[in-house]
């Protein structure tokens, strides 16, 4: 109901502006992307999944439809330079092994995944390459060079539907993530679900709550004018509810990332998206 009211509000806004964009259908550089899909069975309390793009104002939505307007593309370009940059004791760059970043098409929607009994995110894969093959210093989880690189790699899969594995080896991590999602923490005693499941589409102060989907990460946020990692965003949420955040790159956030990715099953990868 709340969402229906929201879409009506969008329609009124759109009538007064000149955007060619229909506010319910996203196409980037002419390629249509799925922003709405029926919830899979394992998402028990939602009927339909909506990308965070659907909850933004027409001006913000527009920024994502054109790669020239999308401010995140500046960082993607920086990552293309980093891709070629030789570093570390082995005198290697990303490009020494991976000739073209396009070979990572299809990687983003399948992460995080289990490797050798451990849950790994894209940041882990990048740092594994840096430390084991390049002999270089690992990058910090949410620093500029890391988010730029994960944006470049994620961009190769733009438009593909999110599809993480949640059965078999991944099942215990998924359960851990689900527990975290529904556990109330912090001084405000809130869980993720309080906002993003029970109240999406409703105003929280001056902003609309989304479903907390992670299909557009790393995302460019207008509030801090840079790319933001998934774990960085989790940290922000936890601070907002006055909880002590878990460590970025730690087992809790990775489990939560897996669970959230599974809650977006079927939504198109929008990396790098533009949000408030």
């Amino acid at each position: 109901m709340a969402l229906r009211r929201l879409t009506v509000a969008f329609a009124i806004c759109a009538a007064g502006t000149a955007w060619a964009q229909d506010n319910n259908s996203l196409s980037v550089e002419g390629e249509p992307l799925i922003t709405e899909v029926a919830a899979p069975d394992h998402v028990e309390n939602l009927d339909t999944l909506y990308s965070g793009w659907r909850f933004r104002s027409p001006e913000t939505q527009y920024l994502q439809t054109d790669d020239f307007e999308n401010p995140a593309m500046v960082f993607v370009d920086q990552a293309r330079d980093l891709w070629e940059k030789v570093e570390g004791t082995e005198n290697m760059a990303c490009a020494s092994c991976h000739a073209d970043v396009a070979e990572f098409e299809g990687l983003r929607p399948t992460l995080p995944r289990v490797e050798n009994g451990e849950l790994v995110a894209m940041e882990d894969l990048v740092n594994e390459c840096r430390t084991e093959r390049m002999g270089a210093e690992p990058w910090k989880w949410s620093k500029g060079n890391m988010t730029a690189m994960t944006a470049l790699i994620g961009l190769q899969s733009r438009g593909m539907p999110m599809s993480v594995a949640i059965d078999g080896e991944a099942a215990p991590f998924w359960e851990q993530g689900k527990d975290l999602y529904y556990t109330r923490v912090g001084q405000l005693d809130m869980s993720c679900s309080n906002c993003h499941e029970n109240n999406y589409g409703v105003m929280i102060r001056a902003d609309h709550l989304s479903q907390g989907q992670i299909n557009g990460f790393p995302t460019y946020r207008l509030k801090n004018a840079k790319l933001n990692s998934i774990h960085g965003r989790f940290k922000g949420c936890m601070k907002n509810i006055r909880a002590t955040p878990f460590a970025e790159g730690g087992p809790e956030f990775k489990a939560l990332e897996l669970y959230l990715a599974s809650r977006g099953q079927g939504l198109a990868v929008e990396t790098p998206s533009v949000r408030n």
Partner: protein, 109 residues
């Protein structure tokens, strides 16, 4: 050369004679204002792009003077009338003396 500077320009490839076209330009640049201090309290020297010009077949289209208050990665969008097939030249002038240039051709049909 200041690090990480990369000009980007979007010009339509084709237009009809006399058409008004929209041109978008963006250059990644940190635009250090010269008013900030580092951790030790020393002033970080000013390093901005202070001038931007666009020319079409040698004729000036736009000439912009930029001041330190302009934020990072300056973006300009403007319109131009194209009378004939030709080439746009975009030039950015950096405080450190560097000049960044980008050219785009347009075909008028």
């Amino acid at each position: 050369m200041a690090s990480g500077v990369k000009p980007r320009v979007k010009v339509p490839k084709k237009a009809a004679a006399g058409d008004t076209i929209t041109i978008k330009t963006l250059i990644s640049h940190k635009m250090e204002s010269g008013q900030r201090k580092d951790d030790d309290g020393n002033i970080i020297p000013r390093s901005i792009i202070h001038r931007f010009t666009a020319d079409f077949n040698g004729e000036n289209v736009i000439d912009v003077a930029m001041e330190p208050a302009i934020s990072t990665n300056p973006y300009f969008q403007f319109e131009a009338v194209v009378p004939e097939t030709g080439e746009f030249t975009f030039t950015w002038y950096d405080d450190d003396g560097d000049v960044y240039e980008e050219k785009k051709s347009i075909t008028v049909t």
